[in-house]
């Protein structure tokens, strides 16, 4: 074999090593509340188990849109859309009391909607004036926020489902 060819193959092997190392050492985090780990890179394949939000793992490869990992001693796959390089963000709520509302007309300081409306330093009337005249309904928004679903309700709803 010619020297040039040997050099070329050595370069290629080095390239493979670098790229493989760069990918295989990537540490990733599961994002949804719970994600299923599949035996093959397909949602139709066997489910090996599930992992919770924030689960950290080191990927050992990628096939199309699936991330490969070692799960309970076996190769498993997680959908790429359900993982990220950073841990999941914490639950967010409406902007807090730091941005004190400056409502002069319709003061409802305890309401989260009031905070939203007031945080720009404008009254409801101001807001109506600068918008295209389209009305905003913050009472309705409060009603929407008030509807809560308990985890028990959700669980029993899901158990009752699963039918054609």
């Amino acid at each position: 074999m010619k020297n040039g060819h040997v050099l070329l193959i050595a370069f290629y092997m080095f390239y493979l090593l670098i790229t493989a190392t760069a990918f295989s050492e990537e540490s990733l985090y599961v994002q949804p509340f719970r994600a299923r780990v599949f035996a093959k890179p397909s949602v139709a394949s066997e489910v090996l188990g599930s992992v919770d939000s924030g689960f950290q793992f080191v990927s050992i490869g990628k096939e199309k849109n699936w991330i490969k990992l070692l799960f309970k001693g076996k190769a498993g796959y997680l959908p790429a859309v359900q993982v990220a390089k950073t841990p999941p963000l914490g639950k967010n709520t409406v902007q807090g009391s730091d941005s004190a509302p400056k409502l002069s007309v319709r003061s409802r300081a305890s309401s989260s909607s009031a905070v939203v409306a007031g945080m720009k330093g404008l009254t409801y009337e101001d807001r109506a004036r600068v918008s295209k005249g389209e009305r905003s309904d913050y009472d309705a928004l409060d009603k929407v926020d008030a509807l809560k679903i308990s985890s028990d309700e959700l669980k029993s709803f899901q158990l009752e489902g699963g039918k054609r």
């Binding site: 040039g4 060819h5 070329l8 290629y12 493979l16 790229t19 990918f23 994002q31 949804p32 509340f33 299923r36 397909s42 949602v43 139709a44 939000s53 990628k62 096939e63 199309k64 849109n65 959908p79 790429a80 859309v81 359900q82 990220a84 390089k85 999941p88 963000l89 639950k91 967010n92 709520t93 409406v94 902007q95 941005s99 909607s113 939203v116 720009k120 330093g121 404008l122 101001d126 807001r127 600068v130 918008s131 389209e134 009305r135 905003s136 309904d137 309705a140 928004l141 009603k143 929407v144 509807l147 679903i149 309700e153 959700l154 899901q158 009752e160 489902g161 699963g162 039918k163 054609r164």
Partner: protein, 284 residues
């Protein structure tokens, strides 16, 4: 000759290299490379705060135009379906809210931060829970992928996409407040009148069927629903791209993911029962 054989070898070596790198990310047309959550790295918790507050303003504006359905059981049902989906979505930091609004418009809307609206008219066109899940999942995808924030080019000079929202919210002067309100106007226009980009709609479709499959809903629900609505609307309005193109793209995405043949839950009986007893979802 020598250099030719060397070139041939180089080409051969690189052509047969194993796919250790994310191949999908190299394809610009791959929907999932657009939907990737990798760009989350550029977002912080305070960004999400601003996104949520921006979304609430838009939601309040929408609620100023549409009346909430007074049927609490129907509201709860739609929220249960929606929450089943959001348990599997890529942004657990968002607290999604699902709202049935009274309107004769066959449509669904969503705002940044997680407010999803479905009209009473759109519910009357559905036949099962999987179709409802498909529509909600499509809207959830618009939220998780921040389509409005990106479409409005709300990009700060040096920071993340939502940093300029933060600047608008944080600003105390009236002019900043006016700018914020005008940005909300633009977002409302985009949601109600102009519609999303074709690419965003298709990406949301593809993400939606996967989210349905992850959540146990038959991914065909969105397909059957779009097919039905495409025939009803027959290309009227600008909110959606042409339906046959959209459907073809969606079916290709489903085929790529191997979910075309999946037979998951439709929950037809439960849906029919809710709509019959609780729904009274008659358009105005």
């Amino acid at each position: 000759m020598k250099s030719l054989s060397l070139l041939f070898m180089i080409a051969l070596l690189f052509a047969f290299q194993p796919s250790v790198l994310p191949a999908a990310e190299s394809k610009a047309e791959d929907w999932r490379s657009r939907a990737s959550v990798v760009d989350r790295d550029t977002y912080s918790e305070s960004d999400t705060d601003e996104e949520l507050n921006f979304g609430r303003e838009i939601a309040a504006r929408l609620l100023g135009q549409f009346k909430i359905s007074s049927n609490e059981k129907l509201q709860k049902y739609v929220n249960l379906v929606g929450k089943t989906l959001t348990q599997n979505c890529s942004r657990p930091e968002l607290d999604f809210h699902f709202v049935v609004i009274e309107s004769s418009e066959i449509n669904a809307y969503s705002t940044p931060g997680g407010y999803v609206f479905v009209t009473t008219a759109v519910l009357t066109k559905m036949e099962n829970e999987a179709e409802l899940a498909g529509v909600l999942a499509h809207e959830i995808a618009h939220v998780t992928d921040r389509h409005i924030v990106k479409e409005l080019s709300l990009k700060g000079a040096e920071k993340s996409a939502v940093s300029s929202i933060a600047a608008l919210i944080g600003g105390a002067s009236e002019s900043v407040g006016i700018a914020f309100s005008q940005t909300v106007d633009k977002a409302v226009d985009l949601i109600l009148r102009d519609g999303y980009k074709k690419e965003d709609e298709m990406q949301a479709d593809a993400s939606a069927v996967m989210l349905c499959a992850f959540s146990g809903y038959d991914p065909s629900g969105l397909v059957t629903f779009l097919d039905k609505i495409g025939k009803i609307k027959s290309g009227v309005g600008k909110t959606y791209p042409v339906y046959d193109v959209r459907l073809a793209t969606l079916q290709r995405a489903m085929s790529d993911e191997g979910i075309v043949e999946m037979k998951l839950a439709l929950n037809s009986e439960r849906f029919t029962r809710i709509m019959k007893i609780e729904g009274k979802a008659k358009p105005n």
